[in-house]
């Protein structure tokens, strides 16, 4: 019952009372049109409609910011619905870009009403389901609300930036060929060392320049095997490490970085796993290929920052989730206390690469910088530089990434330079 029906009933009742009190038959005559109107409303009062909703999405898996076409078809399988207000409920952070998700229509028996609109959403996983239908009488005095179900699911995955192959040198590699030098002799393209010539060695492998120094000896070039490895990506989703400004959250950049890094390693054929550390532990078991890429992107789509007393620090990072001696990529703005766990990881034999977004430059973008802020910034930057220095001293590679800049460039600058240094000092060949 609507408020209008209440009003009408109240008017009829009041007129009755007025007629009764004043003994005027004319007032009773005034009631008659209202009573006839009310009777018509009751005659045409709607029963529960038999409607069926079906939903089609142009795609179920898209990058955030990409538009999705939603098509909703309501079919009437019962009596003629004279006035139905159909409203498709948009889930969570999905918003309508164009078209209509609401319509007022008359649906004849067997008839259809179609709604088409374009929606886009923020990173996440969303369930479309409820369609609210309000059926009213032709006079709009009695309404019936029905919720139809038209389920569909859509993933808005994080944006992936194509990165060049990341030149890492983990201690352990797998048996399959890949892009990572394995510190073992085998068929590869990088020079690894020399050995005495043995019968059967192909002639093209003989190092003639070295052999020329000896009278009766030949030397053969050895090459380094290139293999794939295990990569464990750890995304720091602790709420206290996130910085939220008017332009957005730093965590979004970190998610994008995780997606890009995972994509780069998977493209190289490596086995990649993901751990989201924040309100809990969300782990994606390591795997290869396109399916694993999809799994990781879906996990990242769902990733949210959170706080938990247990996971306030990285102390409970379950290192056993990743194979021993594998490469760990930690994406975190880091806090001073994290150095302990990084030392522990290194001591366990993992190769650690930290992608550390520069929080200062991100935060300062939206601030008015005065003299005191400038001094504060210098102090924070110095602290950060010392912190990074300390990590580097422990052979932890740290990519100091300004989120506005290119991640690819930052990784290549840091990792390639470190490998050149290692080669220079003879740590690797």
């Amino acid at each position: 019952m609507t408020s209008r029906l209440w009003l009408l009933c109240l008017l009829v009742y009041s007129l009755f009372l007025a007629a009764l009190l004043s003994f005027r038959g004319g007032i009773v005559a005034l009631i008659l049109p209202l009573l006839i109107y009310l009777t018509a409303v009751l005659i045409y009062s709607p029963s529960t409609p038999t409607l069926h909703a079906e939903r089609e999405l142009s795609t179920h898996y898209v990058t955030q910011g990409t538009q999705v076409m939603v098509k909703l078809t309501i079919t009437n399988q019962g009596y003629t619905v004279e006035e139905a207000l159909i409203k498709d409920v948009l889930p969570g952070d999905v918003r309508k870009v164009s078209g209509d998700n609401e319509v007022l229509a008359m649906i004849p028996v067997g008839g259809k009403v179609e709604l088409e609109y374009i929606a886009e959403g923020r990173r996440g996983s969303y369930d479309f389901d409820a369609v609210n239908v309000t059926v009213t009488t032709i006079f709009g005095l009695i309404r019936k609300d029905v919720t139809l179900s038209a389920p569909a699911h859509v993933w808005f995955i994080p944006e992936v930036t194509r990165l060049r192959s990341i030149p890492i040198r983990p201690l352990r590699t797998h048996g399959f060929s890949g892009p990572i030098p394995s510190r073992r002799v085998g068929s590869g393209i990088n020079f690894f060392g020399l050995r005495d010539y043995q019968p059967g060695d192909p002639l093209r492998k003989i190092n003639w320049r070295v052999s020329a120094h000896y009278y009766d000896q030949l030397f053969t070039n050895e090459y380094e095997q290139e293999r794939i490895t295990d990569i464990g990506i750890i995304l720091d989703a602790r709420f206290q490490n996130d910085i939220i400004t008017s332009q957005g959250s730093l965590f979004e950049y970190m998610v994008r970085a995780a997606a890009s890094v995972a994509d780069a390693f998977l493209s190289d054929g490596d086995r990649v796993g993901l751990l989201i550390y924040g309100r809990g532990l969300e782990f994606t078991i390591p795997g290869y290929g396109k399916i694993q890429r999809q799994r990781i992107l879906k996990a990242l789509a769902r990733a949210r920052t959170g706080s938990s007393y247990a996971f306030e620090r990285l102390d409970y990072l379950p290192t056993r989730l990743f194979p021993a001696h594998s490469q760990i990529v930690l994406i975190s703005p880091l806090i001073a206390e994290d150095i302990k766990i990084l030392t522990r990881l290194k001591a366990c034999g993992y190769d650690v690469l930290v992608i550390c977004p520069d929080t200062t430059s991100y935060e300062v973008k939206n601030l008015t910088v005065g003299p005191s802020e400038k001094i504060a910034m210098r102090i924070i930057r110095l602290e950060r530089a010392l912190f990074i220095q300390e990590l580097k001293r422990m052979s932890i590679q740290v990519v100091d990434w300004k989120v506005d800049g290119s991640l690819d460039q930052a990784i290549q600058n840091t990792v390639s330079r470190q490998i050149t240094c290692m080669r220079h000092f003879g740590v690797i060949v």
Partner: protein, 165 residues
């Protein structure tokens, strides 16, 4: 939609006109002016989309119609005014529902059906009311008892409905 809007404005004007005319014929200028102001405000409300005013307008018109009958003005004017006010109130709501919806499909089907039904029902209401008035319906003791019983039953019903609400 144009027909609905036209119908709405015409019915407000008719309702106001008949009620004001009824008062004016009996020399009650103050009442005609009051009705005129109420009607003008209703027209303004229809133009400015003040949804709340339609119900207020209907209540005012009902009260004035009852007052006119009690004061001995021509009941026919009151009856026509009440019927047209009811039509205006209904059309205002229909207009509002259509306007509020972002998108309307088959408006060409919905609006004529609504108008047709409303015309038939208001016509029947007007005719029945007219006949009742022509019959010079007088309320005797028996009718008062019946109406009293109806009033008691309705009061109980309203109270129980309000409780359930």
């Amino acid at each position: 939609m144009k027909r609905i809007t036209c119908g709405l404005f015409i019915n407000i004007l008719l309702s106001t006109g008949f009620l004001a005319l009824g008062s004016l014929l009996k020399g009650d200028i103050a009442m005609s002016v009051l009705v005129g102001i109420t009607g003008s405000l209703w027209l303004l409300a229809a133009w400015r989309d003040w949804k709340w005013y339609a119900s207020l307008g209907l209540i005012i018109y009902m009260v004035v119609a009852v007052y006119s009958i009690i004061s001995g003005y021509s009941p026919l004017f009151s009856l026509v005014s009440v019927v047209t006010a009811l039509v205006a109130w209904d059309l205002f709501d229909f207009y509002w529902r259509v306007k509020r919806s972002v998108h309307v499909k088959n408006l060409g089907d919905i609006a004529p059906i609504h108008l047709r039904r409303l015309t038939v029902i208001s016509g029947i209401g007007l005719a029945t009311g007219g006949v009742a008035m022509l019959m010079q319906f007088r309320i005797g003791f028996g009718i008062v008892v019946v109406l009293g019983l109806v009033a008691i039953v309705m009061t109980g019903w309203v109270i129980s409905m309000l409780r359930n609400h």
